[in-house]
Amino acid sequence: MAERPEDLNLPNAVITRIIKEALPDGVNISKEARSAISRAASVFVLYATSCANNFAMKGKRKTLNASDVLSAMEEMEFQRFVAPLKEALEAYRREQRGKKEASEQKKKDKDRKTDSEEQDKSREEDNDEEQS
């Protein structure tokens, strides 16, 4: 349990797939190179986290947010990541909104059913038939 942070690796299969898609067809990667890249990715996350945390602390916040990470990217000289990351963030937010609305809708439906059950017990049998 008491591993070094750098030992927390990201899944090999995913790393391999990302590498393969980034390179032209027919190019291979040795096991050592792949595991070194995986390790590098972990170090990257740790370093980015630390940078982002500095921004959060400057803003007197205790929670890391998206803009802290974006600021960290600039600080780390990975400005070219900022634009694609902003796009991804927008898409992520849209997806989260969609999920939230879907679950709110489900909740509304559930509340409606509960209300009608409380109002009229004699109608319960009919409701059951409708559901099936």
Binding site: P5, E6, L8, L10, P11, V14, I15, R17, I18, I19, E21, A22, L23, P24, D25, V27, N28, I29, S30, E32, A33, A36, I37, R39, A40, A41, S42, V43, F44, V45, L46, Y47, A48, T49, S50, A52, N53, K62, T63, L64, N65, A66, D68, V69, L70, M73, M76, E77, F78, R80, F81, P84, L85, E87, A88, L89, E90, A91, Y92, E95
Partner: protein, 116 residues
């Protein structure tokens, strides 16, 4: 500039921004964010973030962006390392290609000494 990455074997630039204008490469569709938002499991990224003793809390969006940034990083370093392998006319990326890229590219300086 695009010819440099087309396998012609003429090493022109060794800056970190090489490989971006490579037209013949089948690039991953990064302009289609709806297709796949993140391949790296957020739980693992979160574990890494929590490993930092100075971090109190991290929002979900922050974790997601870190995951996506890590993916971009993997793509970037793989491509840069590949440029080194091409100079050796090899088709397999070796560990030394990675070491060369880390030494050559300023942005990768933070990796020095961490991969052993």
């Amino acid at each position: 500039m695009a010819a440099a990455a087309a396998g012609s074997g003429t090493p022109r630039e060794e800056e970190g921004s090489s490989g971006e204008a490579a037209a013949p490469q089948p690039q991953a569709p990064t302009s289609a964010p709806g297709a796949r938002l993140s391949r790296l499991p957020l739980a693992r990224v979160k574990a890494l973030v929590k490993a930092d003793p100075d971090v109190t809390l991290a929002g979900q969006e922050a974790i997601f962006i870190l995951a996506r940034a890590a993916e971009l990083f993997v793509e970037t370093i793989a491509k840069d390392a590949y440029c080194c392998a091409q100079q050796g006319k090899r088709k397999t990326l070796q560990r030394r290609d990675l070491d060369n890229a880390i030494e050559a590219v300023d942005e990768f300086a933070f990796l020095e000494g961490t991969l052993d």
